[in-house]
């Protein structure tokens, strides 16, 4: 039999590479043991999701035996279109700030909320459930949320104290104070070897030159962006660094110059709070509608209950 064509292995590897990279972007946990055709299907789905339009790629066989050229094309498209490398960098770096997310994307994860594919471990195939058990579970859940709230408030207190106490210490005046991680770094520097390594790596590869170039291009783009996005509220996703500033920031978008080298966008908690309030109101409304619908249906059911009157709370 003729030896396998030289590109056979390459295609397989390429598929696997794309799979590994894309899975990171899409927040999923990936395992090496995933079959190749699953991996290929995932890569195709991801490319489709982001709008890759070349049908030749989608026609590639699921055993990974061919297509290195198409994969190369797709890969370069991803690099450009998704800023793939930058995203990976952003995800894998050491987080030095006090990070919190402003969006609620994590709440919309498909199978995390209702556990539709799960079965209650105690019940298995049996379909009898005591309604009081459901009530009890629900009560525990509500209690859990309350505890979580209390914990968060406690954490806020600690965080704010750290911010206050370290005000004025940060060399980056835009920030002004240390984050928890940075403070910890000062206290126990030996725990943060990874930061040091990273730092060395960056310096080794001449990152500062790249950084400068990026700065300049960003400044140019900022001009157009400010204009375009002026009336629109910033829709940030992902993590932001919590910074305490006792005075209200001058401009909403905070695109102004700062002492630090890196121009970063800033958003005020006031805006985020406003957006969250809107979101909250919208969700509450939706919940009430659902409850109202239930009330109606239960009204109808109550008509069928002989000899019982229901007086609502």
């Amino acid at each position: 039999p003729p030896p396998p064509p030289p590109f056979l292995l390459q295609s397989l590897d390429f598929w696997r590479l794309l799979y590994a990279l894309l899975k990171q972007i899409h927040g999923g946990k990936w395992t090496e043991s995933d079959a190749i055709d699953n991996q290929i299907r995932f890569v195709k789905s991801a490319l489709w999701y982001h709008g890759y339009g070349r049908p030749e790629l989608y026609r590639l066989p699921s055993d990974g035996s061919a297509g290195s050229r198409e994969l190369l094309l797709a890969f370069s498209w991803l690099l450009h279109r998704l800023s793939l490398l930058e995203q990976l960098l952003a995800r894998n770096r050491v987080k030095t700030g006090d990070e919190t997310s402003v969006c609620t994307c994590e709440d919309d994860l498909p199978n995390s909320q209702t556990g539709t594919t799960e079965r209650a471990p105690e019940y298995g195939l049996e379909d009898r459930v005591d309604v009081r058990y459901l009530q009890w579970l629900n009560g525990r859940l509500r209690f859990q949320w309350r505890s979580l709230h209390a914990q968060h408030q406690e954490q806020c207190k600690l965080l704010h104290k750290i911010h206050l106490f370290t005000s004025g210490s940060h060399m980056d005046q835009t920030l002004g104070h240390f984050s928890v991680t940075e403070t910890d770094l000062v206290r126990q520097p030996e725990n943060y070897k990874q930061v040091k390594t990273r730092e060395e790596e960056l310096q080794k590869e001449g990152f500062s030159a790249t950084a400068r170039k990026i700065e300049e291009s960003v400044e140019l783009k900022l001009l157009n962006l400010t204009h375009l996005c002026a009336p629109k509220k910033p829709q940030l996703h992902g993590s932001c660094r919590l910074v305490y500033r006792s005075k209200h920031p001058a401009s909403k978008m905070g695109f102004g110059r700062s002492v630090s080298k890196e121009p970063v966008s800033a958003v005020s908690a006031t805006e985020v709070i406003r957006e969250l309030q809107m979101r909250e109101a919208s969700l509450e409304r939706e919940l009430k509608q659902l409850q109202e619908e239930c009330r109606q249906r239960l009204d109808e059911i109550a008509e069928g209950l002989d000899g019982v009157i229901c007086i609502s709370p």
Partner: protein
């Protein structure tokens, strides 16, 4: 293996509390029935526990930083406050006891009452979900005074039907504009009934009566407007389903369609504006949001200086030329479609708010006209949003057609917090972590409280949907032991209508003649 819970023997002995998870006609598959609710709740509890653990770690670290540095060895993580049983999914024996006591008390409440006893309830302002008139025919005058007078019930049902089940939206809404647009004796009739209904509704939602009472009076017809538009896709096409608008607006409606327009200056202008949004760049996202706010604002702003001409122009802008729509569909990737959908997420709620803020009665003609223009403007927004939804749907369909096998994995594809291209389309934007600046301790606390609240509401809504799907059929199918009907009803009512916090009182309606 299921004997762990102390409740189970009671269930078997008494056979009173069981919930049969076997609704009529449904295949009993793995996890079908109320088990799904239990599983969902258990999963939610698991997630919550995970969150708490993570948070506890972070809090511990912060606490350590605030203590004296260097004295770390004796540091112990504090036990979780109030964690009763960790991962246990069974109530403790003590909890079961307390629960039994409570249930016995509730059973005592479910006792025979004579008709006379209903007057104290009336005096307290308590209102019944179902009046005596709905069940057995009322026996005396006092019974007829039970809140929710019988003649209101059909009205109520009708209104609810109108607002909730658009399929039955065939009958015209009772709300009509008064002169000079239309006169209708029904208006007066409605207003007479409304207060009665509002009172009962007001006391029903104790504490929130004002908003609900007000809303019921003024919101009914408006809800019709919104819902008619909401549910009917494509965008409103039938004028008779949208009452309360001026004739000019109606004419506009008739000429509006999702199909090809006759062209003209306005549609071209609109096409151009929207087509800028079609390009894959920052402008797209900017455009979408720009539309919803300024539109609403503009509508409200215009209400003070009425210029009907401008609104009518705006209406015409919704007619997009066909080639543009085709290009739009082709150019949107699923990721963008999803983002656009997210932008639209909060729109219905906000619109409802604006709509409900419009009063049903107007002291002056100016006010009435202002209100009319506001509503028209809002309706324009609704049309635009619906139109965009239609476009998104078309785009999505064409994407699905392209690669039907890819759509299956869409769930796992939805990226968790991919930075939006619209705003940070350059690489540096992704690398530079944006700052979130808070200006006071209170603000920080509010921020976290709100984030949590929003997350919790997401979960509540998801659970509510699961529960509705699983529990209501149980009651509707009547496949439960008759003796436990009342208790079951109460439990499910509490869970579905009151978030598990309050429960209705069940009273036996056995009257002694």
């Amino acid at each position: 293996p299921h004997a762990a819970c102390g409740l189970r023997p009671a269930v078997r002995a008494g056979r009173r509390w069981g919930v049969t998870g076997r609704p009529v006609g449904r295949r009993v598959a793995d996890g079908a029935g109320p088990c799904r609710v239990a599983a969902a709740l258990a999963a939610a509890l698991g997630e919550g526990a995970e969150r708490r653990r993570e948070l506890e770690q972070r809090t511990a670290r912060s606490r350590a930083l605030l203590r004296c540095w260097g004295s770390e060895e004796d540091e112990q993580s504090q036990p979780e406050a109030g964690s009763s049983s960790g991962h246990e999914n069974r109530p403790s024996p003590k909890e079961l006891e307390e629960l039994e006591l409570l249930n016995r008390a509730l059973e005592k409440a479910l006792k025979v009452r004579k008709s006379i006893l209903k007057s104290p309830l009336e005096a307290q302002g308590a209102t019944g979900e179902k009046s005596a008139g709905e069940g057995p025919t009322p026996k005396n005058a006092e019974e007829q005074q039970v809140p929710v007078p019988v003649e209101d019930v059909p009205e109520n049902t009708k209104v609810r039907a109108v607002s909730k089940k658009p399929a039955s939206l065939k009958k015209p809404s009772p709300y009509q504009l008064r002169a000079p647009y239309r006169t209708d004796p029904d208006v007066k009739k409605l207003q007479r009934k409304a207060p009665a209904r509002c009172v009962s509704q007001g006391s029903r939602t104790a504490g929130k009566s004002s908003s609900k009472g007000v809303a019921c009076k003024q919101g009914r017809s408006h809800r019709t407007v919104i819902c008619a538009s909401d549910r009917e896709v494509p965008a409103p096409a039938e004028p008779q389903k949208i009452p309360g608008l001026s004739r000019s607006a109606l004419n506009e409606q008739q000429s509006f369609s999702v199909g090809d327009s006759a062209g003209g200056k306005n549609s071209v202008a609109a096409g151009k504006r929207l087509s800028d949004g079609g390009r894959k760049n920052c402008g797209f996202l900017g455009e979408s949001s720009k539309k919803e706010d300024p539109t609403t604002e503009g509508a409200l702003g215009r209400s003070t200086s009425p210029r009907t001409v401008t609104l009518q122009e705006k209406g015409c802008q919704l007619k997009l030329p066909l080639p543009y729509r085709k290009a739009y569909s082709r150019n949107s990737s699923p990721a963008e479609i999803e983002k656009e959908l997210k932008v639209l997420q909060d729109v219905p709620s906000l619109l409802s708010q604006y709509v409900e803020a419009e009063p049903a009665d107007h002291p002056t003609l100016e006010r009435e006209y202002e209100s009319l223009l506001t509503l028209e403007g809002l309706q324009t927004t609704v049309s635009q949003c619906l139109h965009k939804l239609q476009l998104l749907r078309t785009a999505m369909e064409s994407q699905m057609r392209l690669r039907p096998d890819c759509a299956g994995d869409i769930g796992s594809c939805s990226p968790a917090c991919v930075p939006p291209r619209g705003q940070m389309c350059d690489s540096a934007g992704i690398l530079a972590v944006p700052l979130l600046c808070y200006s006071s301790f209170q603000e920080l606390r509010d921020l976290f409280a709100l984030k949590l609240q929003v997350s919790m509401l997401h979960q509540e809504i998801a659970l509510q949907k699961v529960m509705m799907a699983e529990l209501l059929p149980v009651l509707e199918s009547r496949l439960y032991p008759e003796a436990s009907a009342a208790q079951l009803y109460r439990a499910i009512y509490t869970q579905l209508c009151e978030g598990g916090k309050r429960f209705p009182v069940l009273v036996r309606d056995e009257l002694v003649d």
